[in-house]
Amino acid sequence: MANYSTNEFKPGLKVMLDGDPCAILENDYVKPGKGQAFNRVKLRNLMTGRVWERTFKSGESLEGADVLELDMEYLYTDGEMWYFMLTDGSFEQYPVEKKALGDTEKWLKEQVVYTVTLWNDNVINVTPPNFIELEVTETDPGLKGDTAQGGSKPATLSSGAVVRVPLFINEGEVLKVDTRSGEYVSRA
């Protein structure tokens, strides 16, 4: 991979830092009146999702990371691996480990398209769509006529996620949920 110097650091650029692939989020140039210039850089570690704030001497460079983000459809799991398939018509399948799947495990639904991050051709992260529609598999019975009042209860969804829903929701209903906050949005 090519090396990138601090003045080429742009949001979205993928670089290697401390052995992990990272995405640049922000890059600012700081310089005292007369003296060494630095770049203040925010990066997201793509392995852990953590945001790092690092300083570099201007002109320093980092190795680029061979990272690709691809759309893939979730197929199935055999209990050990989760299988995703490219949506580009190639039908190419990628196995994903539990570690790379992380929290996304509770938002899995067959035929839904996820953003899959590959590093050196291995899956390191799977991001669900911002909104997903899932069926309620378990919740306390709905309260008739209680559509206006506040109050909520837990509901288990078909993917395994548990979200707070209004009291009027029943088992078997399909809900729209925000996967970023884990919050109920509406009936689908």
Binding site: D28, K31, K34, Q36, F38, R54, T55, G59
Partner: protein, 324 residues
């Protein structure tokens, strides 16, 4: 991008910019300071290891030559002083390679002025007066802060005497990088940029004085009366965490100037940087005699940025470099 032919500043901002620059000219006219224009291309460049000069090849009456885009109009203006110009100011286009950010653009406008016979305190007062004239609301009182006291107050260390190892450790920790081989001044620069600068000039105008001698650039050095430590007769002006200006009690000794050019180029070689042609005519002018006095360079785009409340310096420039 389909519409990147458009200016990076709004037209209304450019009107405001023109009005503020007219204020600057009026300020100096009232004070009897002469406006001058000096070349953007010169035979000498800045040797400062922390400034990257751009150069170009040109055909001149002397043939094919290398000319340097000026990083500040300093050398030419000093030659005018040596020739007896008296007080002068310039609104000059300057170039510094690689400087791009929310407060930097590769090509920018410097307001630089020189006051023969005026001491550093007098020039600090005048710089603050100019800033007050341009800002829409009075920024509040002027406060002088000694470099050393700032470090003591913010970081609990003496920048001149803290052991280098401890300084490297702290700078590395604050910046999240390895400073294991860094020289003292680089550690201090990092701590200044990250830990001290952002808090300066939050209430009023803050002026930092008595810099370490190693950061003198083209300022005189003198012994601090407090403890005999060598310090640079230099100041920097801050408002809302933004460094606006850099002033010197100007070095007028040709030999000392020659030595600093040589030191800079030696440091450049050691760092693997290209050497810069020394301005021999500046040295000749200093030999002929430049009047004692002080001078200051103020980032005019930044001051306008501050006056108009813009987050990015590109917003006060017709076309910042990416759209140039």
């Amino acid at each position: 991008m389909i519409d990147d032919w458009r200016p990076s500043a709004e037209i209304a901002t450019l009107r405001e910019r023109a009005r503020l620059i007219a204020e600057v000219r009026a300020f100096f006219a009232e004070r009897g300071v002469l406006e001058v224009e000096t070349p953007v291309l010169g035979h000498g460049g800045s040797t400062d290891v922390h400034l990257a000069s751009l150069a170009c090849a040109a055909t001149t009456p002397a043939g094919r030559e290398r000319l340097w885009l000026q990083t500040s109009p300093e050398f030419h203006m000093k030659r005018l002083l040596a020739a007896g110009s008296g007080p002068i100011f310039q609104i000059a286009r300057c170039f510094r390679d690689g400087e791009v950010g929310t407060r930097h653009n590769l090509e920018f406008t410097m307001l630089e002025w020189y006051r023969p016979g005026l001491d550093l305190d007098g020039l600090i007062e005048e710089t603050a007066a100019l800033i007050r004239r341009v800002l829409p609301i009075d920024p509040g009182p002027l406060r002088r802060r000694r470099y050393r006291e700032l470090f003591r107050a913010s970081l609990g260390l003496d920048p001149f005497h803290e052991p280098l190892e401890a300084l490297r450790r702290l700078a590395g920790e604050k910046g999240g990088l390895s400073m294991a081989d860094a020289p003292r001044d680089d550690c201090l620069d990092l701590l200044m940029s990250l830990e001290i600068e952002p808090g300066l000039g939050r209430e009023g105008i803050e002026v930092v004085v008595d810099y370490p001698a190693g950061q003198a650039a083209l300022a005189r050095r003198y012994r601090d009366p407090e403890d005999g430590e060598w310090v640079a007769a230099r100041f920097e002006v801050y408002r809302q965490g933004l460094e606006l200006a850099n002033g010197y009690d100007e070095l007028t000794d040709a030999e000392e100037q020659r030595a600093r050019f040589a030191e800079d180029n030696a440091a450049r070689r050691a760092m693997g940087l290209a050497e810069v042609d020394v301005d021999a005519r500046l040295l000749a002018a200093l030999e002929a005699g430049m009047p004692e006095g002080s001078g200051v360079a103020l980032g005019l785009d930044r001051l306008i940025q501050l006056a108009l409340g813009k987050a990015h310096v590109a917003e006060v420039m017709a076309f910042a470099t990416p759209r140039a």
